[in-house]
Symmetry: C2
């Protein structure tokens, strides 16, 4: 076997991690001595040891003068586990072949530097194109461009807006609901506020109309109830919060499979710019916000929303104060209104799907 | 001159009343003696004496054995003026040619009967077709079929609903506003609640895009301020109220040219079925309701609305609680929702005009 074949094997191993490593990147590793693979490892799930550590631990052989092939630069910082480079140095390995340099600014060459300083030989560039493609989503996380954010809601003809699973109440045709589910499958992530989870208990999947997006709940105080449909394991669940790391709810939620992202509040709430940034870091490059009302509003207010998709169902709810008169105050409101451009109209029987672009003001 | 020519002259005179007699029908009258017209009269304005009385008073000649030609059966009941038949009987006129029998159930042959009982000869049927056509709107008032009622509003993409003159705040293009004005010209009447007049001060005309509809204000307690644009005389103004006839505001409003219609409240408010009936009696055979919110809701609730015309402007207002989440209560609301059928979509740049039919539930 040649060098490329060893790296190819490392890549095969990486793939085994599947979605369970989310939001970490998949990583595979082989250790070669005298031209033969003597150990293998891969990152198995989020929170698990890294591929390199598995490979080092998976053999009892002396690794002095052995060579290591890793798909991604080994980490040099304390994350959920200690830095891998320290273990590599300790092991006696003399040369490390690295697939791609970790684009994460916390690593980005630091791992290589640390290994070199310890006298370990480094070679990069094996299967370069394959690996660049393989890690393209991971690389994209560290670009400066914000992901595409779309706000979606369904309402009646008199502007009553339901929450996520409530779509079926407003829009009338089966075809429209399929369209909503299909829409979800076109996004990396789908975000709702915790109140929607509490009151509406949505599943937030694409209901078989395509791939399931990552489910994201904005829950600053971690008030999410543990018995909710959203905890079913069709797709990863991310909970964004502001609580201290020692909050006992965090461990409970992790045990239920949730990924916890902590963000500091600014002016009493979590800012959507921060939400977007942290979601990009876990490869959410397109985000569908489905409400409820407050969540939708802060997303708009924080100017992260690019497009609006509005379903209008053929119903009128009415009620006094329901057909909201803005009247005298209209001008004040209008001054702060977000101007839109109508991009498309799709008619599905008596339902309507309208797409708008939010214009810069 | 023959009989038809005399009736034709009466019709010519009737026309002179123009819109000033609204909501009364136009009526003309000539008195003939020895084959020559000796006097003429027509109903000049709402509240004025009737055509027959003018004709009787407009001559000093003795009317014994004279003949009278009237386009419409003379009244036999006390309205704003005493019954005309009494004056005709007193005058000595021996024969009355009547164009059409008054379709108003309060008269409908009673005038003829009273004249006959007094020994006056009656002939009907002159210019029958011309007069039936001339009085077709007046005749239609007494049919049982309710007029066509359309509810119109403009809202933002997040369901904020403005009042009438506020349309321009929500819809963005000049073409859309012209469409709204044109729409108004296609209706006999345009109705708003008094709060809309107070807060929004609309003119309620078609802004030169066609004929001006009759302006109708629903104002149970007569709280309408006297200095409002709606009092400009482009078209008749009707105020529907529930106050006693001796309320001093009534005279003030009449002086400003308003026509007052009194309706009893039922369950604390004026019912829209009654509104529609009383408006039909003044020849409002198509009615556009333009708000505000409460007025729109009661019209829907009273099931008089046939169609909905909704303009959607390319703006989003937002605000917490603005994107109204119905959430858990959705089902309850939906049960009472009015189902609609989407009839047409018209796109005007980034504005939308949607037409819906309200389905029977």
């Amino acid at each position: 076997m040649n060098k490329n074949a060893f790296m190819k094997r490392a890549l095969q191993l990486a793939l085994k991690g599947g979605v369970k490593v989310f939001p970490n990147p998949q990583v595979g590793c082989v250790i070669v001595k005298n031209g033969k693979i003597i150990s293998e490892g891969y990152h198995k799930f989020f929170g698990d040891r890294h591929a390199e550590i598995h490979a080092i631990n998976n053999t009892k052989e002396n690794l002095t003068n052995a060579e290591m092939y890793i798909t991604l630069e080994p980490c040099s910082h304390f994350g959920k586990t200690p830095p891998c480079v320290d273990e590599i140095i300790k092991s006696g390995i003399k040369k490390v072949y690295i697939g791609i340099v970790d684009p994460n600014p916390l690593v980005k060459g630091n791992g290589i530097k640390k290994l070199k300083n310890a006298g370990i030989e480094i070679e990069t560039g094996l299967l370069k194109n394959d690996l660049k493609k393989y890690y393209s989503d991971y690389i994209k996380r560290f670009s400066t461009k914000r992901q595409r954010v779309v706000l979606k809601y369904a309402m009646t003809v008199d502007g009553k807006i339901a929450t996520v699973s409530g779509d079926s109440k407003w829009i009338s045709s089966e075809d429209s609901r399929k369209l909503v589910y299909k829409l979800r499958s076109q996004f990396d992530g789908i975000l709702v506020g915790v109140n929607t989870v509490i009151k509406d208990d949505p599943i937030l999947t694409s209901h078989g109309e395509g791939k399931n997006p990552v489910k994201i709940v904005l829950d600053p105080e971690l008030i999410i109830p543990l018995k909710r449909k959203i905890f079913t394991a069709d797709s990863p669940l991310v909970i964004i919060h502001s609580m201290d790391e020692d909050n006992p709810k965090i461990e409970l939620l992790r045990k239920k499979g949730a990924i916890l992202l902590r963000l500091e509040k600014k002016n009493g709430r979590i800012n959507f710019e921060d939400v977007c940034k942290s979601l990009k870091k876990i490869s959410i490059f397109s985000l569908l916000i489905e409400g409820g009302g407050e969540t939708a509003w802060w997303a708009l207010k924080d100017k992260v929303v690019d497009e609006l998709i509005v379903f209008i169902g053929p119903k009128i709810i009415g009620g006094i104060g329901a057909v909201t008169p803005v009247e005298g105050e209209g001008i004040k409101f209008i001054k702060n209104a977000f101007p839109l451009k109508l991009k498309s109209i799709k008619r599905i029987s008596s339902d309507l799907m309208l797409k708008y672009k939010i214009l810069a003001d």
